[in-house]
């Protein structure tokens, strides 16, 4: 099955903080990043809670070491901050010395900028203006800018499978390492809050006007978040060669599709069940070796019911402690899979289980309740789930090295 895939670096920015250490402190202090938006121009500004990174674009550019924001969308800037930390965390390796790829994920790319300039861009009378903005519409823009800033050119691509995007980016990176195409892959996602996505999810009537309540009987939808997170994956051979410090191992992964509905999971969680089962099988771990599950847990009516049923189907009477960390970070969409993969790494490194905030009442269709307290426990293997529109399901197994 080829090389083992080891995690040697992590970098993150969300409403919880600007780096991994700030995230850890805030998780351990049980302080949510939810609030209201200062930067998105929307009528929902004081109505719908979001988890926003409290830095202006200019401040983010400074953090990223850029002279200004010219040509860089908020999506790119968030990604660059997280990418730079991920590389530092991995010991600042020379990315030109080993075959290094960048596999990025985003759901709406530069939409945060596009929606500001769209009506100018489409006005034929303004031909010739806003030249630099024409490309911001697409998802490849942030990836190309981030790759160029950190000098990665061996392999660069972008994945968009809605809320499972970053998990699929991690999966592709691991597969390319195992097949010998890359020695190192930096994988994850970046997502900026936009009026487009806020209104999109609001039009689906699945946004809670209170802080979200995953796996609670009274749950009433999600809160959006923004941020970026990347993990540095390296082959065992490269790790040995450069004596890199290993944080954890990516031992299993699986991608399945619900084939049920454009935006809803199957009621019994068929796709979630298959993704967790297949990922665990690949990891070579048994059910009783899983000590924690960082669930997708968006707090929408359908997700939590389907995901909960999938947990019960897979683990029977012995469902391990599980929690959704979405009440801390909001749902960061394409970044969520990498944000939560990093939380899974932290759970292993710190030997802690993170709490599921805002839970009070068991769901009537389930026999299980989430872990609601921060507590220490032996954690060797964690399953991290990411499910999305289009029926896209992804599960990762992250293990102690």
């Amino acid at each position: 099955m080829g090389q083992r895939v080891l995690i040697t670096g992590v970098g993150i920015i969300t409403a919880m903080g600007d780096d991994v250490q700030q995230h850890l402190e805030r998780l351990l202090n049980v302080r949510s990043g939810l609030g209201f938006t200062d930067y998105v121009n929307t009528v929902h500004q004081h109505v719908l809670p979001v988890a926003e990174v409290k830095h202006t674009d200019a401040a983010l550019a400074t953090m990223a070491g850029l002279p200004g924001t010219d040509g860089y969308t908020r999506t790119t800037l968030l990604g660059l901050v997280a990418m730079q930390e991920a590389l530092r965390s991995a010991g600042s390796p020379d990315v030109q010395n080993a075959r290094t790829g960048f596999i990025n994920a985003t759901t709406v790319g530069g939409m945060v900028e596009t929606e500001r300039v769209y009506f100018d861009l489409t006005d034929p009378a303004r031909e010739g203006e806003y030249v630099a903005s024409a490309d911001l519409l697409d998802c490849g823009d942030c990836t190309q800018h981030i790759a160029a800033a950190v000098h990665i050119d061996e392999f660069v691509t972008t994945i968009s499978t809605a809320c499972s995007s970053a998990a699929n980016a991690l999966m592709l990176g691991a597969r390319m390492i195992k097949q010998g195409l890359l020695d190192r892959a930096i994988c994850g996602g970046t997502e900026a809050l936009t009026r487009f996505t806020i209104n999109g999810f609001n039009s689906l009537k699945n946004m809670d006007r209170q802080p979200c309540r995953p796996f609670d009987q009274q749950r009433n939808g999600l809160n959006l978040g923004e941020g970026a997170a990347y993990l540095v994956l390296e082959s065992e051979a490269l790790v040995q060669q450069r004596q890199a410090h290993v944080l954890a191992e990516l031992t299993g992964y699986a991608n399945t599709n619900e084939a049920f509905h454009a935006t809803a999971p199957s009621p019994e969680g068929d796709g979630a069940f298959a993704a967790m089962r297949d990922a665990l099988q690949m990891s070579g771990r048994s059910l009783d070796q899983v000590q924690y599950i960082n669930v997708h847990g968006t707090a929408t009516l359908t997700n939590d019911a389907a995901e909960g049923k999938a947990l019960q189907r897979l683990f029977g009477q012995a469902v391990p402690p599980f929690s959704s960390t979405k009440p801390f970070t909001g749902h960061t969409l394409a970044a969520a899979g990498a944000v939560e993969a990093i939380f899974s790494v932290l759970a292993i490194r710190q030997q802690v289980l993170f709490p599921n905030l805002n839970f009070s009442e068991k769901m009537e269709e389930l026999d299980i309740v989430p872990n609601t307290e921060l507590r220490t426990a032996p954690v060797e293997n964690v399953i991290s789930n990411s499910f999305g529109f289009g029926g896209n399901n992804a599960s990762l197994v992250i293990s102690k090295f």
Binding site: L121, T158, F389, G390, G391
Partner: protein, 352 residues
């Protein structure tokens, strides 16, 4: 990349007569508008009518091409569905952006938001085919399709037998205008058949969808073997040349034909000149006068190359009369670059 990969079936909707048509007799379709648009087939029978009504152009052509490709193959259940798209459903994205302003963020219809999700076509294919297996969507501009192809080849290398691969993009009036701001299109209106003779800044727009059923084993009716691919991000001239020579040396072939994405854009013409010069004596033809320029145009190029290899002949009526056709079409090298940044080679070979 050098993994076993065979095109078992393929299907394309394009500005030419390519969908369930005899391409060797179909007339060339041209435009004088600098925008080649697809010839939509009759979607009834391919897409349920209630779904069809709400679907944008790219959703229709993406789903229909995928469904037809699988139907041609006898409705197998592929082990993976992998696609690439530069822009996804632009029509839906545009409508939702406008509705947000028009209705001041109230009473919005979620359909456009859902359909604007870049993996919408993949989800629709999985749903219609009841396929619960691996499903992925790449959105990396001019390497969206090629990234999907790489993932597909990895799947086959990992032991999967059948992968459905696709690439699709649509052109809209808004998108044409947006790219016009950046000088992506020629200022002068030209006849699309004369694209390569008009070397000036910019090119002409296009759109299309192409799907391929790829297998890990050769089959009786296989179109071609995908012998190798190479993706390059912002290569210098030396790296581009090196990639070409490595690809040819690895497979020990001299291509019979260079099927390029040359598009008459003087800004990036030198890349095509470089590849052409590196292959002395190899005739070059371009697929861009047939498809126009778009992020996943290389999918159309690969479809055309495989059609020619399988038939052992070219649809010569689509090309200028003085085109120097080779005596055999067994090794076809595809080269395409997207606005200077993203480059890709695909080497197709006739089945042994």
């Amino acid at each position: 990349m050098n993994f076993p990969c065979y095109i078992q079936h393929q299907c394309a909707i394009s500005p030419q007569h390519t969908f369930k048509a005899d391409i060797f007799s179909a007339p060339l379709v041209t435009t004088d508008d600098n925008m080649l648009q697809v010839l939509p087939p009759d979607y009834a029978g391919l897409i349920p009518p209630n779904a069809l009504r709400r679907m944008s152009k790219v959703l229709k052509m993406g789903l229909a091409t995928a469904v037809q490709c699988l139907a041609d193959a006898g409705h197998p259940q592929p082990d993976a569905i992998i696609t690439g798209t530069g822009k996804g459903s632009l029509q839906d994205m545009e409508k939702f952006i406008k509705d947000i302003v028009t209705y001041q963020e109230t009473a919005l219809n979620p359909t456009q938001f859902i359909q604007s999700t870049f993996n919408a076509v993949n989800g629709l294919i999985a749903l219609q085919q009841q396929n619960t297996r691996y499903n992925n969507t790449f959105v990396h501009r001019g390497l969206s399709f090629e990234s999907a192809l790489l993932d597909a080849m990895l799947q086959l290398a990992e032991g999967k037998q059948l992968v459905l691969l696709g690439g699709f993009d649509e052109v809209t009036a808004d998108q044409f205008q947006i790219k016009s701001h950046s000088g992506w299109w020629k200022k002068e209106k030209i006849h699309s058949a004369d694209l390569l003779q008009h070397v000036s800044p910019g090119t002409i727009a296009g759109e299309g969808a192409a799907f391929f059923l790829l297998g890990d084993q050769p089959a009786a009716n296989s179109y071609a073997k995908i012998a190798g691919i190479r993706l390059l991000n912002r290569p210098g001239a030396a790296k581009l040349e090196g990639a070409l020579q490595t690809l040819l040396a690895t497979h020990q072939v001299q291509p019979d034909l260079l099927l390029s994405g040359r598009n008459g854009d003087s800004n990036y013409q030198h890349f095509y000149e470089q590849i052409s010069a590196a292959l002395p004596g190899v005739p070059e033809v371009s697929f861009k006068p047939l498809s126009g320029e778009y992020e996943t145009a290389h999918a159309f190029g690969m479809w055309l190359g495989a059609e020619m290899i399988k038939a052992g002949k070219a649809p010569q009526q689509w090309f200028p009369a003085d085109t120097p056709w080779p005596s055999k079409l067994e090794n076809v090298l595809l080269y395409n670059q997207y606005y200077g940044e993203q480059h890709a080679f695909i080497l197709l070979q006739k089945m042994a």
